[in-house]
């Protein structure tokens, strides 16, 4: 039982970070905070991959004269390098959109944005009625 909890503590961290990130994405009204949550969520996945790749006592996988040296699996790291780039692109695009939204709506709060869209809709509707 203790092993179940503390023996795999790295997975617990991944899991907790993941849930925090997802919770932020779902619950926060601020568009900026959502992106922060998303970044956290993605980072937790990076950790998950790296946890797989790590071998206790292993070093960087660089060829040396010592044939018996233990080294970590390099593939997850490479994959995560790609995933980090993707994550950066996502975050950058999200931030850029947030900036543009702020410019267009004067707010980055979801509720205020939908309220102002509603106002716009009603204005248009009344114009049609006139």
């Amino acid at each position: 039982m203790i092993d179940q909890i503390f023996g795999v503590w790295n997975y617990w961290i991944v899991f907790i970070l993941m849930m925090i990130g997802l919770y932020i994405v779902i619950s926060k009204k601020s568009l900026l905070k959502k992106i922060v949550g998303l970044a956290l969520f993605q980072t937790s996945v990076f950790l998950l991959y790296i946890t797989f790749g790590k071998i206790a006592g292993g070093t960087a996988p660089i060829l040396t004269d010592n044939v018996n040296e233990i080294y970590s699996n390099p593939l997850p790291h490479v994959l995560i390098l790609t995933a980090i780039v993707v994550g950066v692109a996502t975050t950058a695009l999200g931030l850029a959109l947030t900036v543009r939204i702020n410019k267009a709506y004067g707010s980055i709060n979801e509720n205020e944005i939908s309220a102002s869209d509603l106002v716009e809709y009603h204005k248009k509707y009344h114009e049609v009625k006139k």
């Binding site: 998303l38 993707v86 267009a104 049609v128």
Partner: protein
């Protein structure tokens, strides 16, 4: 020229990719358009060549950088993946041909060439998604295509600021979906040590009822279901399609979700196919089935009450995705084949519908909603004609592609589930007639006491439109090509299960 034949699987991906980089730095918008059209034309030619290549052998496999799998990345083209390849390349070409007038109207002039760059990048991403046989590479292409698609959607903000919100929601949901997928891939990699799809398929059955694999399967399916807009994970779709710049709506509606559905099929049948009894539980099949039925009705009913025409079409897309997923969830050869048939046909139908609706918006310079279309049909007769053909095709009028897909879908549903399922399908498609008819009627009726002038229709807009409507009819009559290939594809998938 043999190196072209030899390298076709990668050429269809890198042609749009490389051209997107060239187009990005151009300052002349027209030149950017010509180059993009050329690139998408080349892609289409390569895809068609690939089709011929494939008629000789059952699949073409390509090792990137000469690294053999499972170490290297493998690209595989087989009888299944050729279907979405043809859809994306043909629709991509027609949409690119069609795009120019709209982009210079709807987007800031100095952004047009970059828009084309994103556009080609989307096509490249979609092509990569289809061809790759590496689970992680698939994630990269998933993000390439969806990030560029998000940027394209957000570019609609010059016309309507809601495009920004639509793009933002698309981004967040898409990123969560892709991350879900990558979690699943990570878990699979953790237990099998490989990322190659066929290698995974070989190793998973040996693991039995491993919890990691079950969780991985769930995560991957969920992630792709978000991308494929399977009900109820579709909420990003209507706004994204509705507020994107017009050509982007055409491209995305016709291709993006189709490719995601193809991946859904790939995951559940190719990767988990050999261990089908263990992992693709009967229950999951039923989850998909019921979600598809809900999607059919929810999408249709939302479309009936929707005023904005582009959004209406997007809601109808949700319903149509329901039909496709329904066919696939039947898990029989005719079922999957009918899913593929509708995959192709719906791409043709929705491309035509979006093209004609945005053309009307272009001519009248305003957003098309149900009230503003009254009498528009006589002002733009050619566009109206194309719209009617595609709309009737959506409704499933005989001699159009919509009828063929409905015929096979109902047959497959009847053969595996009995009468209740075809009945539900038909009720929902009869309901879909309501919104189709609302549009046709609105376009056809005259405005009360106002003489409307005829609008001069532009050949560069109506020629691609007429091509699409012609295809809608042609493949409704000569449906052999689509039907046969869909059955070959579904048989190939089903044989993986056994």
């Amino acid at each position: 020229m043999t190196f072209i034949i030899k390298n076709l699987p990668i050429l269809i991906v890198i042609t749009p990719l490389m051209f997107s980089l060239i187009v990005a730095v151009l300052s002349n918008n027209r030149l950017a358009w010509i180059l993009s059209t050329f690139a998408s034309f080349l892609t289409m030619i390569f895809s068609i060549l690939l089709c011929f290549e494939l008629s000789n052998n059952s699949n073409i496999s390509y090792y990137l950088g000469n690294w053999p799998p499972p170490l290297g990345i493998e690209y595989v083209i087989d009888k299944v993946s050729i279907i979405p390849i043809i859809i994306v390349s043909v629709i991509g070409f027609i949409a690119t041909l069609y795009a120019h007038n709209f982009f210079i109207l709807e987007i800031d002039r100095n952004l047009v060439s970059k828009t084309y760059s994103l556009w080609l990048l989307t096509i490249a991403g979609l092509m990569g998604l289809i061809t790759t046989a590496d689970a992680f590479n698939l994630f990269v292409f998933l993000e390439i295509s969806s990030l560029s698609a998000v940027a394209l959607v957000a570019l609609g903000s010059k016309m309507d600021r809601k495009a920004l919100i639509a793009g933002y929601n698309y981004l967040i949901l898409g990123a969560v979906g892709a991350t879900f997928y990558v979690i699943g891939v990570g878990l699979l990699y953790g237990v099998t040590g490989t990322l190659n799809m066929s290698d995974l398929a070989q190793k998973i059955p040996a693991l039995g009822l491993n919890k990691s694999v079950i969780v991985a399967f769930t995560f991957m399916m969920l992630g792709i279901m978000v991308k494929a807009a399977v009900f109820p994970l579709h909420i990003w779709l209507p706004n994204a399609y509705a507020y994107a710049p017009s050509p982007v709506s055409v491209l995305l509606a016709a291709t993006a979700t189709k490719v995601s559905i193809y991946i859904l099929v790939r995951i559940s049948y190719t990767i988990f196919g050999p261990s089908y009894e263990i992992y693709t539980f009967e229950s999951l099949r039923y989850v998909l089935l019921y979600l598809a039925i809900l999607a059919m009705f929810a999408g249709t009913i939302m479309a009936i009450f929707e005023k904005d025409v582009k959004k209406l079409l997007a809601h109808s897309s949700v319903a149509q995705i329901g039909y496709i997923v329904l066919g696939i969830s039947l898990a029989t050869s005719p079922g999957i084949a009918s899913g593929f048939i509708h995959l192709i046909n719906h791409a043709l139908i929705k491309a035509g519908l979006f093209m004609s609706v945005v053309a009307m918006g272009y001519y009248t310079l305003k957003r098309i909603d149900v009230n503003s279309i009254t009498g528009l049909g006589r002002q733009v007769p050619i566009t109206f004609f194309a719209f009617v053909i595609c709309a009737l095709s959506l409704a499933g009028l005989p001699l159009t592609v919509g009828f063929i897909s409905k015929l096979y879908l109902i047959k497959a549903a009847f053969m595996s589930e009995g009468i209740w399922l075809p009945f539900l399908i038909l009720v929902s498609s009869a309901l879909s007639l309501i919104y189709i008819w609302k549009l046709i009627e609105g376009l056809w009726y005259n405005k009360t006491n106002s003489k409307s002038e005829k609008i001069k229709e532009l050949p560069e807009i109506y020629i691609p439109l007429l091509i699409i409507s012609f295809l809608n009819i042609y493949f409704g009559i000569d449906a052999d090509l689509i039907i046969d290939n869909s059955f070959i594809a579904s048989d190939a998938l089903i044989s993986g299960i056994k």
